[in-house]
């Protein structure tokens, strides 16, 4: 076997450029395949993590416009709709509910932001429930608010960076001309919390003159609860809109799956091209060596010996291409991620391309299978060569 391997290996070295190009073709196909499978795995787990990191599985907002961020972008603070604060109590009594947290988002127009002004948003949160729900949040500096109606702010990392704030600094709420003290800077999370300025709920209600009203309620549902049934219950509440994060996840995954089908089709084409490339290379190699194969057969080599030799050459090409492709996919995972982020309308935080060992083994298996299949025809053709005809044809 080692001897056959040596012969096959040396045969490939005789046409270095051709063998090299074929290996590159297979490597590119393997690269695309590993990267895509890695993306498939990475995107879903990152999206799930992002949604889990919200701390709650459901958001209840006032009917009309459930998307606070979109409203703020389009209309500023004026477009926000409110619901009574006492709904929180009503929801927390439901048996499926583990915890609820009340939120009030407000925005002010800052004329000194950019060329023509911009909005600054503040999220009022309940200090008793919000930090518990977001227990994964860590502080770079400081901590949460000292009391429920303190004139204090906790800033997400990016918000703090934009405002150049640190613990102890003052922050001005421009339109209201109110100063708050920065008591905490959160570590970067890669989520929307990074750009958020948190204030105690009561403080936001006081500053903006909004009594007993909220813009949203975050709900953490018990693990064994029936989500569909609970959602139905929530829909029955008057004048509220329910946004289930499971629905959000499902919608995003459906959108992304369309893109995935297209990309997998491209990968399939790349694999087919590389299969044709391998068959072409090996077949050319067989045709060029007809005389040689004829001599081998006349010296006693069986059709199976020739078949094995040619098949082994195919396998060496595919295995080499597979190794290079997998290595390339691992080395360029970060770059692939950057490119995907630019192409997708929404990309969750964290690793979008997760290349794991089982995934590499799977791709390797696919590449070897491609090698075995694409090597069958050239090997069979080589095995069928008639020695005398082959020797004579090339002499002529």
């Amino acid at each position: 076997m080692i001897k056959i391997f040596n012969v096959a290996y040396k045969n490939l070295l005789r046409k270095k450029a051709r063998s090299g190009l074929t290996i590159i073709g297979i490597a590119l196909a393997a690269w695309v395949l590993v990267s895509l499978l890695g993306f498939n795995k990475g995107y879903e787990s990152s999206l799930s993590r992002d949604i889990d990191n919200l701390g709650f599985q459901m958001i209840v907002t006032a009917k009309g416009c459930p998307y606070e961020a979109a409203t703020l972008m389009l209309k500023g603070g004026t477009g926000l709709r409110y619901m009574p604060e006492n709904i929180t109590e009503q929801i927390s009594k439901e048996p499926e509910v583990e915890e609820v947290t009340a939120m009030l988002m407000q925005a002010v127009f800052d004329p000194n932001k950019g060329e023509s002004g911009g909005y600054s948003a503040y999220l009022g949160v309940d200090p008793a429930t919000f930090p518990k729900m977001k227990s994964f949040l860590e502080f770079k500096q400081g901590n949460w608010f000292t009391n429920p109606d303190a004139m204090e702010a906790v800033l997400g990392y990016e918000a703090a960076e934009l405002e150049q704030r640190e613990v102890g600094d003052k922050l001005l709420i421009v339109e209201k001309n109110v100063e708050v003290k920065v008591v905490g800077i959160l570590k970067r999370t890669g989520t929307q919390d990074d750009g958020t300025i948190f204030l105690p709920l009561k403080t936001v209600q006081k500053i903006f003159g909004i009594k007993d009203e909220l813009t949203g309620i975050g709900i953490k549902v018990k693990k064994d609860a029936n989500m569909a049934q609970f959602e139905e219950k929530m829909y029955k509440l008057p004048d509220v809109q329910v946004v289930s994060l499971a629905q959000v996840k499902q919608t995003i995954m459906t959108l992304v799956s369309t893109a995935k089908v297209m990309v997998f089709s491209i990968a399939l084409i790349a694999i087919l091209i590389s299969v044709v490339g391998v068959i072409n290379t090996i077949l050319m190699s067989v045709m060029e060596r007809l005389q040689e194969i004829g001599i081998l057969k006349s010296m006693g080599a069986t059709a199976w010996d020739i078949f094995k030799l040619i098949w082994l050459e195919t396998l060496i090409l595919c295995i080499s291409g597979g190794i290079i492709g997998a290595a390339l996919a691992m080395a360029t995972a970060k770059l692939t991620e950057v490119l995907i982020r630019q192409l997708l309308p929404y990309a969750p935080s964290g690793g979008l391309v997760q290349i794991t060992l089982p995934l590499v083994i799977l791709t390797f298996g696919v590449v070897i299978l491609i090698g075995l299949l694409s090597g069958v025809y050239p090997s069979w053709k080589a095995g069928r060569v008639r020695p005398l005809e082959a020797i004579r044809s090339q002499v002529e």
Binding site: K113, E115, E161
Partner: protein
């Protein structure tokens, strides 16, 4: 021969992978100061320009701790806090009229009394200020400080003028064009000082990154005078 070519190809591949992967790794580093809408802002801030090229550069990348020490020495103050760090990527816009380079636009983040301040300078090829712009300013006196009359006071000044301005005391230590810059509102003193510190830092970084330390001689001269 073929072996040589393969070696060259391999080296090229390694180089490409390195160049591509390194920026990807610094994606989560500190954030710099970009124009909000470069196409619109460059045309507005630099009338007559037809295009621009964006360059990203950091003190860390250009010279590491040694360069940081030199910048701090020229500034007369240390880089401070969580966000004024060695790895902040500065965005330098090279401005063109046709194919001819006509100047630069560069911004820095500065810590103000109530929030972040973004100080942008429009400079000619010699580092002379042509325009001054607060892209962002959180202040009770934002209106007065963002008034074009305030920015006009900076026009014509260079880094040479700022060497005689002590940013720690906020006072001139010798004849300096900075003396002519007046604070429109006495209560806005912290933000006024922050604006001057941001301007000096901005000019020093442009001198280090682009002008080849053209103004370093004046810093040395001021140092000699002090001795």
């Amino acid at each position: 021969m073929l072996g040589m070519t393969m070696k060259k190809k391999f080296s090229l591949m390694v180089l490409m992978v390195t160049v591509i992967l390194v920026p990807a790794q610094v994606l989560f580093a500190a954030v710099g100061c970009d124009l909000n809408d470069p196409d619109r802002d460059v045309a507005r801030l630099f009338p007559g320009s037809t295009g621009y090229k964006t360059n990203y550069v950091s003190v860390d990348q250009r010279g590491g701790p040694a360069l940081l020490a030199q910048v701090e020495d020229r500034l007369g103050d240390k880089f401070q806090g969580l966000f004024e760090t060695i790895d902040v990527p500065y965005t330098l816009y090279e401005i063109f009229k046709g194919k001819e380079k006509i100047g630069y636009i560069h911004g820095v983040n500065e810590k103000g009394q109530y929030g972040g301040i973004q100080v942008f300078l429009v400079l000619d090829l010699d580092g002379v200020i042509k325009n001054f712009y607060f892209q962002k300013l959180t202040s009770r006196y934002g209106k007065e400080l963002r008034d074009p009359k305030f920015g006009e006071q900076f026009v014509g000044l260079t880094l040479k003028d700022f060497y005689n301005y002590d940013i720690l005391t906020g006072k001139a230590i010798g004849p300096s064009g900075v003396e002519r810059i007046k604070n429109p509102v006495p209560e806005a003193e912290p933000d006024f000082k922050a604006a001057l510190r941001g301007t000096k830092k901005n000019l020093i970084l442009v001198d280090e990154f682009i002008l080849g330390n053209k103004y370093l001689q004046y810093h040395k001269a001021v140092g000699e005078q002090k001795k």
